[in-house]
Symmetry: C3
Subunit: 205 residues, 3 copies
């Protein structure tokens, strides 16, 4: 009896995409972007990481192009942002939580997809991290901000750590669902602890 069934996973992917689109659209609220700019930014945030992963792997069609459900999940996220903006904007802290859940979940999904396509674990670790964070990196690059990756808090490194732990446990034969849950919880914990205690990695000096 799987803890995470296929249908639950699929539903979670759509929900994660929905929240990624919202947090992407919200990310630019302080700038002078119009509705279209906010929608475009939300769209890029939601599809960027997975698209880059699949382009690097040559895994066509891209998820959101082959399965229109993801496009509708993004549209739903953007419309939610536009219609309920005053409410949504107040939920910033809640969205920080959703973003953390999202990057943890998409990291491990990215690792699993890469392994399933027959690539090596070293590649899977990188692709897991890319799936989770590159949407935000592309968004920040387009809007001329310093990408999240290069800001102080531990963010992408938490994803990479979780991916590596998943791969080691997978190599040791840990049952998939336990491994999935453990790695996701690990990423979330690292991220929350880092933000709570303002931890950061040392700089080159």
């Amino acid at each position: 009896m799987p803890v995470i069934s296929f249908d639950l996973q699929y539903a979670l992917e759509l929900v994660g995409t929905y929240f990624f689109a919202i947090s992407g659209a919200l990310a630019v609220q302080n700038r002078e972007h119009d509705l279209f700019g906010a929608g475009f930014t939300g769209f890029i945030t939601a599809i960027g990481g997975g698209s880059l992963r699949d382009i690097l792997l040559g895994a066509y069609p891209l998820v959101w192009i082959g399965n229109i459900d993801f496009l509708y999940a993004i549209f739903a996220g953007l419309i939610t942002t536009f219609v309920f903006f005053p409410v949504v904007a107040k939920l910033r802290k809640t969205f920080f939580l959703f973003d953390t859940l999202g990057i943890a979940f998409f990291t491990i999904l990215g690792v699993e997809k890469t392994l399933a396509l027959g690539f090596r674990p070293e590649v899977a670790a990188i692709m897991g991290m890319f799936s989770a964070v590159m949407g935000g990196v592309i968004r920040d690059t387009l809007t001329n901000e310093i990408p999240i990756l290069f800001r102080k808090e531990i963010y992408a490194s938490a994803c990479l750590a979780g991916a590596v732990v998943y791969l080691i446990m997978n190599h040791c034969g840990t049952e998939r669902n336990s491994n999935l849950l453990l790695s996701i919880v690990l990423i979330i914990l690292i991220r929350l602890v880092a933000v709570r205690f303002k931890l950061s990695l040392p700089t080159l000096k």
Copy 2:
């Protein structure tokens, strides 16, 4: 008797590429770029949108790689810019018109190519817009400017609107050439009216 025959369309694509290269090279004239930088920028502007569309769709070879004519159209545009710079630079307003014609034309060509490859209309609408505007977005990102997309005037949203209208009319069985012309004219009109009356979409607030 088609209004737009295949050969005319092909000629228009080459001419559009030629003008895109010129407007891309001109886009950086106020900065301290050397000739090579201007040429590189013109090149990226001309190939960026179509290349991104085809990479996302996995449609290989990319147009300019499979058909060398496009590369020569770009070279011709760059040489025109370098040799006739004093003349070309004074024609800025004319190039605004060419750019507007260009984005309208490439939007609908991008929509048609995506449909012809068997993808869904929702994907085609996004790919049409990407074909037209992402060359400029990549150029602006590389040169550290705020991408055209995020500046005030209606630009990419005009392309998206034209793409959606084309797809609806196509769905309703409108004859292709009429549809093509109507959608292109619509994009041009939206853009010209927006610029003339300084219209912009509302911002998130």
Copy 3:
């Protein structure tokens, strides 16, 4: 008896990748990047150019994904940077030399790979230059700096010139190894002379 045997070439590619990772990680030392940010930047610099070339050509799998040795060469470069940072940082001038050797070498390898895949020489010239310089361009774009391409000194144009010379000599039937060495030396010379005498191309005016 080939001057450059296959095994030597492979070893040189790995060594070049190793040095590209180091120079990429060093490129951000003045900014507040943490270790992860520096590692990420080194990684992107090392894989960016070749990855973009192969994605544009549709040549899958990407080199570093299909052959894990390249990933380990990058890891080795990053660990070298982190562990021996005080030493490595003092060798800046040495790394300028390695970077120059690297772009010259990767330009011609990129040209040869593109030709070997059956693409036209015009495409190969562009892909050679992209292989060499786009890793740095992507790195600079992500870190919000003006890309190397657009700074004053002759850089990418030296690569393009060397690529064109290689292609002309190749067309004229020059033996491969002589051609390889001559073109690489040419790129290095152009670059060194340009830096030494602060030469730059004219700007558009």
